[in-house]
Symmetry: C2
Subunit: 276 residues, 2 copies
């Protein structure tokens, strides 16, 4: 939904969690759609209007793809029973069941493997980590285009990385062939207005952008300022007050915090990726 009337200063204030920062942006309806993103974790049951899935996928296919290899695919899941089984594999996130459409984005080298096999050719390159990275980037660029498209249509989305907790089981559920990695899920649906999602503030722009060479000099101050902004945001959402830095480190402090994804490399090996 393009809300042409939104105030750029208000959007920026929400995005950076402060009084409007000293940023002079160029603004139009596309920029506004992008800046207004929020992840939606509560959905109405309403089905998606006809043509929504096709629009999302055509947008996804319009993204750049490395050497035009098109090393991604997507499975659209609408069957409630399958969504329930996938949710059980992904930390029981209720929005997977709630959203009318759950897309699983795949880093897919199997198409090239099949094309090579059909021609009786080798495809030695597929055995290298590089090609998995190509496929992951292809899939992510595609998915993000789909997100932007459906958000412009008034729908909400949320990525589900937790499908990587057990890629073996997800691959079995989706009948994936060898050389296909379930990368992330994406819920799509109408946001439940009774539980609206807010724009989440991010680190200051200068904390992620360097000029000419990597620079992290001001980072300590930027993180301290953001810790305060993030804690205030949490409070405003009725969530436990927490500093970003504490929360972020909690996600990576131990191997156990990875919820099974510490075994991702071995699981990918079993899915046919040698990762040389």
């Amino acid at each position: 939904m393009l809300t042409e009337t939104a105030d750029p200063a208000a959007v920026l204030a929400a995005r950076y969690g402060t009084a409007p920062p000293e940023l002079r942006l160029r603004w139009n309806s596309v920029v506004e759609t992008l800046l207004s993103h929020r992840s939606v974790r509560a959905y109405r049951a309403d089905p998606l209007p006809e043509g929504t899935l096709e629009t999302a996928i055509a947008a996804a296919q319009s993204a750049a793809t490395s050497s035009n290899l098109q090393t991604w695919s997507v499975v659209a899941v609408q069957d409630p029973a399958r969504k329930t089984r996938l949710a059980a594999l992904a930390a029981n996130q209720k929005q997977i069941v709630q959203a009318p459409l759950f897309l699983i984005w795949l880093a897919d080298l199997s198409r090239l493997a099949r094309v090579a096999e059909a021609q009786g050719l080798e495809a030695e390159g597929l055995h290298y980590l590089e090609l998995l990275i190509v496929a992951i980037v292809d899939a992510a660029l595609a998915a993000q285009n789909a997100v932007v498209a459906v958000e412009s249509l008034g729908l909400g989305t949320v990525y589900i990385g937790a499908i990587r907790n057990d890629v073996t089981a997800v691959a079995r559920e989706l009948a994936l062939p060898s050389h296909v990695m379930p990368l992330f899920g994406l819920c799509l649906g109408y946001p439940d207005e009774t539980a609206p999602a807010a724009i989440k503030p991010r680190l200051a722009l200068d904390a992620v952008l360097s000029r000419e060479q990597y620079a992290a000099e001001g980072e300590g101050d930027a993180v301290a300022a953001y810790d305060a902004v993030f804690a205030a945001f949490q409070t405003s959402q009725g969530l436990p007050e927490e500093r970003w830095s504490a929360r972020a480190i909690g996600r990576v402090r131990t191997r156990a915090a990875l919820h099974g994804r510490d075994k991702l490399r071995e699981a990918l090996n079993r899915l046919g990726f040698r990762l040389d």
Copy 2:
């Protein structure tokens, strides 16, 4: 540049390289921006208008990020000498020198490493392949939002994966700390209208989209049809007529075709990624 008057059927015909396919899409200016993407490999020398870089990065930061970890950074390179050196590392692609702005997108775990260190905490999770994948996805989602933003402003872009040919040298040029991977470059500038880029056709929508479970039954026919579409596109662009399947397999047939990226895993190890 939003060309509100573009004909959806014409855009779709270009995207799928046939008479307008049987797709009923939902259409607005955002969808049109997305569907109209083309990679631009010839740029005018004109500098970017003020605020363009900031708009791109604010859009990038507005993309979803796994667990809000924000594991990406970007270096903006404008210095002609540095662009020339980076081009030399990336298969001498002339558009890197030509475009007024070259962004290098980074999968960046170093920020979390610094935050943990400042707090005297462990960050064991950073040693796993999973966290590199988190950072790659974060960076790709962010970059794609930047692409959509600047395309809506009338600028062109092209991703440069060839910076992965020698990530060690790129990391040195950009003074990257440990735990940072140069993921891809992105040229930004005004398209040179004397060498206009065309929308490149893709595989049919059904070739990348499955319902409920992965299905590749119709793939052989889809690839054959696309081979013809792609060959016609090449001819229309004054390029050698070539089937897509032959070209794609050429990119992955041998280890040598990876142009150094067969050693990416070892290079990442040296950049501080254990990839457990």
